[in-house]
Amino acid sequence: MVRKNAKWFVVSLVLVLSVALLVSGCGQNNAGQQGAAGGKVIKIGFVAPLTGDVKTFGESAKKGFDLALEQAGNKAGDFTIQPVVVDDRNDATEAVNVATKLINEDHVAAIVGSLTSLTTIPISELANSNKVVEISGTATSPKVTVENGKRKDYIFRACFIDPTQGTVGAKFALNQLHAKTAAILYDQGNDYTIGLAKNFEDAFTQGGGKVVFKGAYAKGDVDFSAVLTNIAQLKPDILYLPDYYQKVSLIGKQARDKGIKATFMGGDGWDSSDLDYKTMDGGYFTNHYSGQDPRPEVQKWVQDFKAKYGSEPDSFATLTYDATNLLLNAIKTANSNDPTKIKDALQATKGFSAVSGSDISFDQDGNPVKPVTILQVKDGKYKFIATMK
């Protein structure tokens, strides 16, 4: 009887293992093609929230990435580029899973992505410890490139960081909008909103304003009536909502319901075609670029994008395009698919002309120095207001 059961046990075990083997074997074949294609190949991973709560970010970013590769003829230096695209659903755990796959299974030399600090921070830990280059177009939290005072050498970004963004936003509110009081609401589970909220608060207070309310909510919260009732009592001039477009639209609507007349303000997370323009009308946000900027690089980019996709590019597409080009430039300069050489070339970038800024180089934290654009939501679209440093 024992023998019969033992045999059954082994049979089913073998079955389970075979299935796993088959699947992992298939996976292994794909990775095995690296180098077998004859000629030099470099694999570049692309991580973005293609589905989930900020999917418009991911979709735009992919368009930017694809266009950059197309314009480069899918080559950088002597190498043919093989992109590997994965979806992180704007979820931190999923991001770690897909990044692990990119690094361990697909053996990518570099990763473009992700888009939000929420997912980019965990990926950056993984990439840095595995010596894989990562450049994010749009993740703005300082923690992406620096953790506990230590620089993650392999990690870069193509955008400004939240301290810059939050400070500029506060200065704009104080000087241009003549605001005296502000209320802030942010997502407690997101380093991006936490960072922006803090930077705005610090700069606003230092500039002589008063932050009358600063409150946090959880990512899944939908009912803000209680906290907005509290804010309405305080009658602030500004309601600062540094979250992504769909959350901001939801809070904005309920805020107006509660009779809050404050001007809405926020950060680059607002930039989306899915923002509730009607509710947020009159609100201002800090962003990376505007299609109305007359610089020739900007105008050429807008034309090229329109020609290929039939719509105007937003900052996610633009910054990912810039990030991809910065990476391709580094690969070309290093003429290697060795991540360490690429990392060195990237760090040494000087005077690069990108769409979102004309003289790009990286500081010792892997961040570029760039101006902040202020946009206003007006009549169903964005109106370019100013650029500030």
């Binding site: 024992v2 033992a6 389970v16 796993a20 699947v23 992992s24 292994q28 830990e125 589970g189």
Partner: protein
């Protein structure tokens, strides 16, 4: 101590399995990615065995299992990250601490709530799970290194297949010995009919609490190992949805069966990743749909679970004299329904 023939055969087969996996690793067929999946599946086995003890064998409907898994993970993670030096010694110290903490919390919360009836106990444990999750999200206000709602990273990744495998084996033997002892029999009698058990002189409170604490400690142990194999801990991974995953595994495997739990835990661990690999990027949206359909079909086709009440012969501590008319081994454990 006399080691039965069954145990020896089990250990030999375990060694065979181990050797097999090592071969696959060395020939490169089992890539690092799939190794991670296997390790994760083994960790889930430990956690699922804990719930199997609590629900499968003692009949206590607990929907908060992931909370203890999370408590173990964070405890072990923070101890090793802050005080540890990445050595194996600290690995063992921290996971034990995780298991102990989980067990302690289970004791504190279990004493008052275990007297609730089945469905109500489920809700209470569910509620407890949510409270723990909110606690994790706000923990960084008290202990900043815990990371709070943005998650904690940086725990030393000292667990590997060898360590995990040995631990799983130890846990299986532990659970097996518990179930086939007087304690285990007391627990199953509670599941079958609590009032009758009480009348027979079994201290139901004592055994309910015992199995709950032990089961939750196992969850804590699993969590501790998880923290050492996975670089990033986030409160959302220890939510009630994760508790449902454990429940699913125990029920589909068959209540009152360790074998069922073990097999289903490993199968489930691979299922989602296999779906991901098989479907490819284009059909990735269908992954959740297919998973849900498999679940519904599986439970309708076999509502009592895969191995309800039955155990694989070699998992028993010694050949039992109980047989059904068909000659298949049937344990005292039964299905409980």
């Amino acid at each position: 101590m006399k080691i039965s023939r069954q145990t020896i055969i089990l250990l030999i087969l375990a060694a065979v399995f181990y050797a097999l996996v090592k071969c696959l690793q060395l020939t490169g067929v089992l890539s690092q990615y799939w190794q991670l999946v296997l390790d994760q599946a083994l960790v889930t086995v430990i956690g699922a065995l804990g719930l199997s003890l609590i629900y499968g064998f003692t009949g206590q409907f607990s929907l908060g299992h992931a909370a203890f898994y999370g408590l173990g993970a964070y405890t072990a993670g923070v101890i090793d990250k802050v005080y540890g030096n990445g050595s194996i010694l600290f690995f063992f110290i921290s996971i034990l601490a995780g298991a102990l903490l989980a067990g302690l919390v289970a004791l504190i919360i279990g004493l008052p709530i275990l007297r609730l009836r089945s469905d109500y106990l489920g809700i209470a444990t569910l509620g407890f799970g949510i409270i723990v999750r909110v606690g994790m999200e706000n923990a960084n206000k008290v202990i900043p290194v815990l990371g709070g709602a943005t998650g904690m990273s940086g725990t030393p990744q000292t667990a590997n297949f060898d360590l995990i495998f040995v631990l799983v084996l130890v846990v299986i033997l532990l659970v097996r010995n518990f179930i086939f002892s007087t304690y285990g029999r007391a627990c199953t009698s509670i599941r079958e009919d609590e009032i009758a058990a009480d009348l027979m002189g079994i201290d139901t409170t004592r055994y309910k609490v015992l199995s709950f604490v032990l089961g939750c400690a196992l969850a804590g142990l699993a969590g501790g190992i998880y923290a050492h194999r996975y670089p990033f801990l986030h409160p959302a991974s220890f939510d009630f949805l994760k508790s449902f995953d454990f429940l699913l595994i125990v029920v589909l495997g068959g209540l009152g069966s360790m074998t069922g739990t073990i097999f289903t835990a490993i199968g489930w661990g691979f299922l989602l990743e296999v779906l991901r690999a098989v479907l490819g990027e284009n059909f990735i949206d269908w992954r959740g749909v297919i998973y849900a359909l498999i679940l519904i079909v599986a439970i309708i086709l076999r509502p009592q679970g895969l191995f309800s009440g039955k155990e694989l012969g070699l998992l028993l501590p010694r050949p039992l004299p109980l047989t059904t008319t068909s000659g298949k081994e049937r344990t005292h454990a039964g299905t409980g329904n």
